[in-house]
């Protein structure tokens, strides 16, 4: 199957080209040329089929979910464009071989070039709208990469970015347009869309569709007001300009207009929008082209102008004009790309593109000169050249148009004017460069290029002449094939003769030519040089306004972002609280809130008193937390205690127990932490500022409202009858199947043991994090220095406060009694833990509580005896405890697999044990062992890691006393012994 090959070849080729060695210039270009040639041959060989059947296609399922296939569809128009793309691509590849410097890393260049060719072919052969947009954007991307090929040049970077911004953005707009078009036509298939033109034009969305599609087309084809990117794109290597910016990519826009002509054209809106933009672009481009100083700039603007001409023709809503448009597209492709190549040669051989310095080159490069002159004559529309024919058709269309009288007079005028300008800039190329005073002050001495570099131009110019002399013979059949699909299958009568007799169009041509000569004579060489190097009477400069817009958007974004994005914590938390409160309030408001009718539990004085204390201490904590941290800590503890008692009161002994031990550990933790916090004095300046007051008031309001909401919700739920909950099941099964009477514990280790597994994982992870972070802990400066009271005390006094001795000594000294007691406590505590652990399954207790008790016992040792003393005597490796605990827990769970049960299924064995007799041994017990181990390990790890900071701080103090800066000293702090212990194993 040959059709898909047309797309496949270039892309495959580009991948191969990319892999060639960096400086393989001939190989790369040769390869690219061959690929392009092969593609061309393929296309040509398809002509008979296309000619016969009108449209041939190849189909492949793509996105079945949306009923979109991948369709390569070749009708006359697509075929003609494919030929242009492939053929000129071949010539450009050949040309680039000689244009690019030997030191250039060309494989990249040719890879991009071939990929672009593939994308462009994809656009023209797209069989459905989505596919068209798909390749459309790909062409934008590769044109970006090609323009930016010489990215070390400032103008290349900027030109590439601008081109991408305009064409890529246009592509996105086009995507929406195509989607809507698909909706209007009821399918994305091109055939369907083209067939349903009437329905589409009737559709309510038609104006939107038209606008979106036109934005896409105009951005791509550099139509006013999106024309400004094209001149900037001239920073690309000249072969790229010759290919993308004259023959192919910029033609994609007009291609789209032709493609959708049957579907969208024929309405007032179309006439106004397309015709208007075309006319404006035609004039604007030609006008600017006259004043360019850069040769490529001139060509770029003339391209814009010619594209405007084509757009204008398509806008005229007449089949004949559409045919003319197709014709001019072909002609422009030939003469303009040959001109670009010629410009490339001039630039290459003279080292400049400055038109004010290029003159009298004919003597130096006659052949190139001749070619360039013929090509620019074609551009100006001189008889016997292809440009003339399509221009005449255009003039005819412009003249014989029947529309609003104003337009009827304006259009011929515009046409003639544009023609005049065209003659002027054509003369600047043809005459200005090659005749006049002998060239001076050129970077290089001009001379003819290598013979082969001219070949592509010769071919193209030959085509210009051939078509120009014998159009019907050379091009007639082809043009008919190409134009038929555009006008919807029914070609209007026209004849491609040179001589239509003496008529208005001819007159207009003459006027234009004469006018052009006159203008050039009067202005001549001064054009482009100082004073005349910027087109006058132009209110806006597209490029400037583009950059100004972009910068403006940027500034606006910054300003806005500063308002709506914060990096501070307080607003974030406030947002969350407010949103939650609002959300809950709204939800409740929908149905209204009613209290339940559940039997209230009689209030007792005890509880009331309890909670009056609890609430007071909570508020106190809130009040004191800033300036009296210690007091706040105490009051917090009180609140915790109240919670604990509440649990006891409302028959939750396990919760109470857990809350209690957690409370203890937390307090120790906070106490260890307090030491590192900075001093804070009452009433610093910021306290009284109105802003602070306002913020406080706001926060207070938020807090109160949220709190009120919370109690409302809890009251509403408390007063409701208990839902028909799943809980009775647990009470029911705890003993017979869970093997324990303490339902809570059975739930933890059996019913919901999966939760518990996650819970201990969290604990372990937190502990590891704490440790990992504290290894890098850097004590704050003032915390490293001695506390005030120590500094105040008399230096000579024999107190441990001033000269802290080794902990060991302290133990024999002022800490003797506590130390003894603590050491007595250790075994007792362990015993208690074991007791709690064993009864856990049947009575309050269990692995978690036991673990915390053991941890507390160890902490007590640390508190009185000091870290180094303990670690000299017993090596704890909490990390290891965590690891073992987790492993035990998981192993218990996985044990069930052996018996073919799901993870964590419990099983109660009843082994005979001497002395004890037959006892129930639920596997949950081992799970609880795991819990115990993890809890002990984690708690110890956290507390010890924190406790060790004081040791390090003391080292830091020592270092500080040795006149080293505290910062330096912190780096001197070695990792804790704990860390060593952990790392060694």
């Amino acid at each position: 199957m040959e059709i898909p090959l047309v797309l496949l070849l270039p892309f495959a080729g580009s991948i191969v080209a990319a892999l060639l060695p960096t400086h393989a210039r001939s190989a790369a270009s040769g390869f690219a040329g061959i690929v392009a040639l092969a593609t061309t041959v393929l296309v040509v060989r398809l002509y008979p089929e296309v000619h016969a059947q009108g449209a041939i296609e190849w189909r492949q399922a793509w996105l079945p979910a949306l009923g979109v296939d991948f369709v390569v569809r070749l009708d006359g128009l697509a075929w003609m464009f494919s030929l242009l793309v492939a053929g000129i691509g071949c010539l450009v590849a050949f040309y680039a071989r000689y244009y690019m410097s030997p030191d250039d890393p060309v494989p990249r260049f040719f890879a991009f070039l071939l990929a672009f060719m593939g994308a462009m072919l994809g656009v023209v052969t797209a069989g459905n709208l989505i596919q068209l947009v798909f390749f459309w954007e790909v062409t934008s991307i590769f044109s970006f990469l090609l323009i930016g090929y010489w990215y070390h040049r400032r103008d290349a970077r900027r030109g590439a970015f601008m081109a991408l911004a305009v064409t890529g953005g246009g592509g996105l707009v086009l995507l929406v347009g195509m989607l809507l078009l698909g909706v209007a036509a009821g399918s994305y298939e091109l055939d369907v869309v083209l067939a349903r033109g009437a329905a589409i034009r009737e559709h309510a969305l038609y104006p939107v569709i038209l606008a979106l599609v036109l934005v896409g087309a105009f951005t791509k084809s550099a139509q006013f007001p999106f024309h400004f990117w094209l001149p900037r794109a001239m920073a690309a290597p000249t072969p790229v300009s010759a290919y993308l910016h004259s023959a192919t990519m910029v033609k994609a826009g007009v291609f789209l207009l032709m493609r959708l002509w049957p579907a969208l054209a024929g309405t007032e809106a179309w006439f106004v929008a397309v015709g208007g933009a075309g006319a404006a672009t035609l004039l604007l481009g030609a006008w600017c082209a006259m004043f360019q100083r850069d040769l490529k700039g001139l060509l770029a603007y003339s391209t814009i102008s010619h594209l405007g001409l084509i757009t204008l023709l398509l806008g005229l809503d007449s089949p004949l004009a559409a045919v003319a448009a197709v014709f001019h597209t072909m002609n422009h492709a030939t003469f303009k790309s040959s001109l670009f190549m010629a410009a490339g040669i001039i630039d290459h051989e003279t080292g400049t593109r400055d038109l004010t310095r290029l003159h009298g080159l004919f003597r130096a490069m006659p052949i190139t000169g001749a070619l360039a002159i013929v090509a620019s004559a074609a551009m100006a529309g001189v008889p016997l050249l292809n440009g003339f024919l399509s221009k005449e058709m255009f003039f005819a269309e412009a003249f014989y148009l029947d529309a609003h009288p104003v337009i009827q007079y304006a259009l011929p005028l515009i046409a003639t004017l544009a023609g005049t300008f065209a003659v002027v800039y054509a003369l600047r190329v043809a005459y200005g460069i090659f005749f006049g005073a002998a060239p001076d002050r050129l970077p290089h001495a001009p001379h003819e290029p290598v013979r082969w570099m001219r070949v592509p131009i010769e071919l193209l110019v030959f085509t210009c002449i051939a078509v120009g002399v014998a159009p019907a013979l050379v091009i007639g059949d082809l043009l008919a094939t190409a134009a038929r699909p555009v006008v919807g299958g029914q070609l209007p009568p026209y004849d491609l003769a040179l001589w239509h007799g003496f008529n208005a169009p001819l007159l207009m041509s003459m006027l234009a030519t004469v006018g052009g000569f006159l203008v050039y004579r009067s202005l001549g060489r001064r054009l482009g040089s100082a004073g005349l190097d910027v087109a006058p009477f132009l209110p806006i400069d597209g490029q400037r306004s583009f950059e100004r817009t972009v910068a403006g958007v940027d500034r606006a974004a910054r300003a806005l972002v500063r308002r709506i994005v914060t990096r501070r914590l307080q607003p974030q938390l406030a947002w969350m609280v407010v949103l939650a409160t609002a959300g809950a309030a709204l939800a409740v408001a929908q149905t209204g809130l009613v209290w339940g009718d559940r039997q209230r539990v009689a209030g007792t004085f005890a509880v009331a008193a309890l909670w009056s204390v609890g609430a007071t201490s909570a508020v106190a904590a809130a009040w004191l937390a800033k300036f009296h941290r210690f007091a706040a800590l105490v009051t917090l503890g009180v609140t915790g205690l109240m919670v604990c008692i509440t649990f006891v009161y409302f028959s939750a002994p396990d919760l109470a127990l857990t809350q209690l031990v957690v409370e203890c550990v937390t307090v120790v933790l906070f106490l260890l932490g307090l030491r590192w916090l900075p001093k804070r004095k009452l009433g610093d300046a910021s306290e009284r500022s109105p802003r602070t007051r306002l913020r406080r008031a706001r926060d207070l309001a938020v807090a109160i409202v949220a709190g009120a909401g919370l109690s409302t919700l809890s009251y509403a739920l408390l007063t409701r009858p208990a839902p028909h909950s799943i809980s009775p099941f647990f009470l029911d099964r705890a003993l017979p199947e869970g093997g324990g009477t303490n339902v809570i514990n059975v739930m933890l280790v059996d019913f919901r043991s999966f939760d518990t597994l996650g819970e201990i994982t969290v604990l372990g992870a937190a502990a590891l994090t704490v440790y990992a972070l504290l290894r890098r802990f850097r004590p704050p400066r003032e915390a490293v220095a001695l506390p005030a009271q120590q500094r105040l005390s008399l230096g000579e006094a024999a107190t441990d406060l001033v000269a802290p001795r080794e902990e060991a000594a302290a133990l024999t000294g002022y800490l003797k009694v506590p130390a003894v007691l603590a050491r007595l406590m250790l075994p007792l505590a362990v015993m208690v833990a074991v007791y709690l652990f064993l009864r856990g399954h049947n009575l309050p207790g269990g692995g978690f509580v036991a673990g915390l008790v053991v941890a507390i016992a160890f902490i007590m040792q640390y508190l009185v005896a000091g870290a180094s003393w303990i670690e000299a005597r017993l090596t704890l490796n909490p990390a290891r405890w965590i690891a073992v605990g987790l492993l035990v827990a998981v192993a218990t769970g996985a044990g069930a697999w052996v018996a073919g049960y799901p993870f964590l299924t419990t099983h109660t064995a009843h082994p005979e044990i001497p002395l004890l007799g037959r006892i129930a041994l639920p596997s949950a017990l081992f799970f609880d062992v795991g819990v115990f181990s993890v809890v002990t390990g984690s708690t110890l790890l956290v507390l010890l890691a924190l406790a060790h900071q004081s040791i390090r701080a003391r080292r830091a103090q020592a270092a500080a006393r040795d006149a080293a800066s505290p910062v330096a000293s912190t780096t001197a702090v070695a990792a804790l012994p704990l860390a060593v212990a952990a790392d060694r194993r």
Binding site: L164, T761, L773, R775, P902
Partner: protein, 571 residues
């Protein structure tokens, strides 16, 4: 090709299938414990073990994917009962199409991030490997569990591990960001718990399917409270899904984190989205009363706001890591925005988009690390440019006078060869840009196109004004993402001279290459994957199959627990 691979894996582990559902949780947990026991000393062993565990997890995930993906009306929904108690009394794990998909993407990203971390980052602090495993465990658990409270537990596992990984390597920026991140998430967790509590208080059960079943029976005067609970839950989850205005923590945290960590963090926001999606489709969407309709609109609007804010912030920042973080935010917003519409095709496209954007952003985070290392090596430029950076769009050079385009005044007309390493980075970067901006030819375009096509109503459905808003926002955000990222790319890759050729370790290129390959795969397999995601979405929007599958599952009868055979019991 992926399909065949997964199929092969599926056959291999067929006998284990029933237990396979819990494996994505157990394997990383065991690995973490083992690595912890091994100790930090033996680095080689750590790396080997960690990688092995991840590889197995990936295999399991793919096997599950292959298992649940049967063509046909009734989906395979794998239900697993840890501790073997009947629904709804025990905890339930469910692997359906959606869960399997999320597990797979998680595993892929995690493996790549881990390999990347092996090169340098693992040495930035202690316990990296165990905590990394726990991170994955948490994420997987959150994707698998079908029990509200268990979801809370796994989210906590995930978060705790993420705190650890975020702080990995310490340093002012990370600790600062970490404090904010932790504070926000603690408050969010409190809300989460409140929400769960209220739902239990009203429905008297915790199993998601069970709640869904009991909802219709809830008397109207209780619904308000139920929705209030849902709202609290929603705020908590939307904060995790990084929806504006609950997402200010994201950019500092993600851009401060070590590269591989940031890559994994991309998944965290997806967990938030997943939870919202799951609970929304199970609980609220079926109710279809005024409150839930209102909720749907709120979701759409918040999503849109997120995308807009992300786009604006993108314009205002130029640092690659910040841009990657913002891209995460952008995709999060997009996902939440389309969630509110309740169209299966749309949701299917969104899930496909999720795959692409996740891979792309993860890649971008890894790339940013290498790019900035190279850049710092070359020009002493620092990586951290915040909002204070000079205007990114306004070009660093003054605009040249028109016509001054004359070669002898410009640099030579000879290109500069691009070092192979840089070319690699550049290509990967382009891939990321195309995906994030949703441009052809990659998956991003297919996904965006699918979503837009549904939104503009290609299936004949009239488009709501909200729908139009989403279309406009999606297009504009694409454009912004494209231009901003390209501009950044120009700044990093098209530096005229003095470029320092980065020295890339193969081990660092490997994961990037892998991720890019993944992107290409999902692009090529776009059709089948879209079919899969659309099927997943369809079953999400009609949860009856899910509910039935869960409710119908019975515990395995056992010798010591005869009554389990009877199942049910008090109900």
């Amino acid at each position: 090709m992926i399909a065949t691979l997964t199929a092969a894996v599926a056959d291999a582990v067929a006998p284990l299938m029933p237990h396979l559902v819990v494996a994505p949780v157990v394997i990383p947990l065991v690995a973490a414990a083992a690595l912890l026991a091994i100790g930090e000393g033996r680095r080689g062993l750590l790396v080997a073990g960690s990688l092995a565990a991840m590889a197995v997890t990936l295999a399991v995930a793919l096997a599950l994917l292959a298992w649940v993906d049967v063509r046909g009306a009734t989906p395979v929904i794998a239900v697993y009962l840890p501790a073997n108690w009947d629904v709804p009394f025990g905890i339930v794990l469910v692997a359906d199409r959606l869960s399997a998909l999320m597990l797979a993407i998680t595993a892929v990203v995690a493996v790549c991030a881990l390999v990347f971390a092996v090169a340098r980052w693992q040495r930035a602090g202690v316990y990296f490997h165990p905590l990394f495993q726990l991170q994955v465990m948490g994420i997987n658990g959150a994707f698998l569990t079908a029990d509200l409270f268990n979801l809370f537990v796994f989210v906590e596992v995930m978060l705790t591990a993420s705190y650890a990984l975020l702080l990995h390597g310490s340093g002012r920026a990370r600790v600062q960001a970490g404090l904010h991140y932790i504070a926000v998430n603690l408050v969010a967790s409190a809300l989460f718990l409140l929400g769960v509590a209220m739902i239990y208080g009203i429905a008297g059960t915790l199993g998601m399917a069970d709640v869904a079943q009991k909802l219709p029976a809830i008397p109207p005067h209780d619904r308000g409270l139920l929705y209030a609970g849902a709202a609290l839950l929603g705020v908590a989850l939307l904060a995790k899904a990084a929806v504006w205005p609950l997402n200010f923590w994201l950019v500092p945290a993600y851009s401060a984190a070590a590269a591989p960590v940031a890559a994994v963090f991309v998944l965290l926001t997806k967990v938030g989205f997943y939870a919202v999606l799951r609970l929304w489709t199970l609980f609220l969407a079926p109710q279809a009363d005024s409150t839930t309709r209102f909720g749907a609109d709120v979701l759409v609007l918040m999503g849109l706001a997120t995308v807009v804010v992300a786009a604006l912030t993108m314009i205002a920042s130029r640092n690659v890591r910040r841009l990657a973080a913002l891209a995460t935010m952008m995709s999060a917003g997009t996902l939440v925005a389309v969630l509110g519409f309740g169209s299966a095709e749309l949701l299917g496209g969104a899930l496909y988009y999720l795959l692409g954007s996740t891979l792309a952003v993860a890649t971008l985070f890894l790339l940013a690390d290498l790019i900035e290392r190279a850049r710092e090596k070359g020009t002493g430029a620092t990586a951290d440019e915040g909002l204070v950076a000079p205007p990114p769009f306004a070009f660093d050079e003054q605009p040249v006078a028109s016509g001054v385009n004359l070669d002898d005044e410009e640099a030579a007309l000879i290109g500069q060869p691009i070092p192979i390493a840089l070319a690699f980075l550049g290509l990967a970067f382009i891939v990321c840009v195309l995906l994030i901006a949703g441009l052809p030819p990659l998956a991003g375009f297919l996904a965006k196109f699918t979503m837009l096509a549904v939104l503009v109503g290609h299936d004949g459905a009239p488009t709501s004004s909200l729908g139009w808003a989403v279309v406009v926002v999606l297009i504009l955000s694409s454009l912004v993402a494209l231009l901003v990222l390209v501009r950044t790319g120009i700044r990093y890759f098209w530096v005229p001279q003095g470029r320092a050729v980065p020295h890339l370790a193969v081990i660092e290129c490997l994961p990037i290459g892998g991720l890019v390959a993944g992107v290409v795969c999902i692009t090529v397999a776009g059709g089948p994957i879209l079919r899969y995601t659309t099927a997943a979405a369809t079953h999400l929007l009609d949860p009856s199959a899910y509910v039935q599958a869960v409710a119908g599952t019975k515990a395995t009868p056992g010798p010591t627990q005869p009554s389990r055979a009877a199942g049910g019991g008090t109900r």
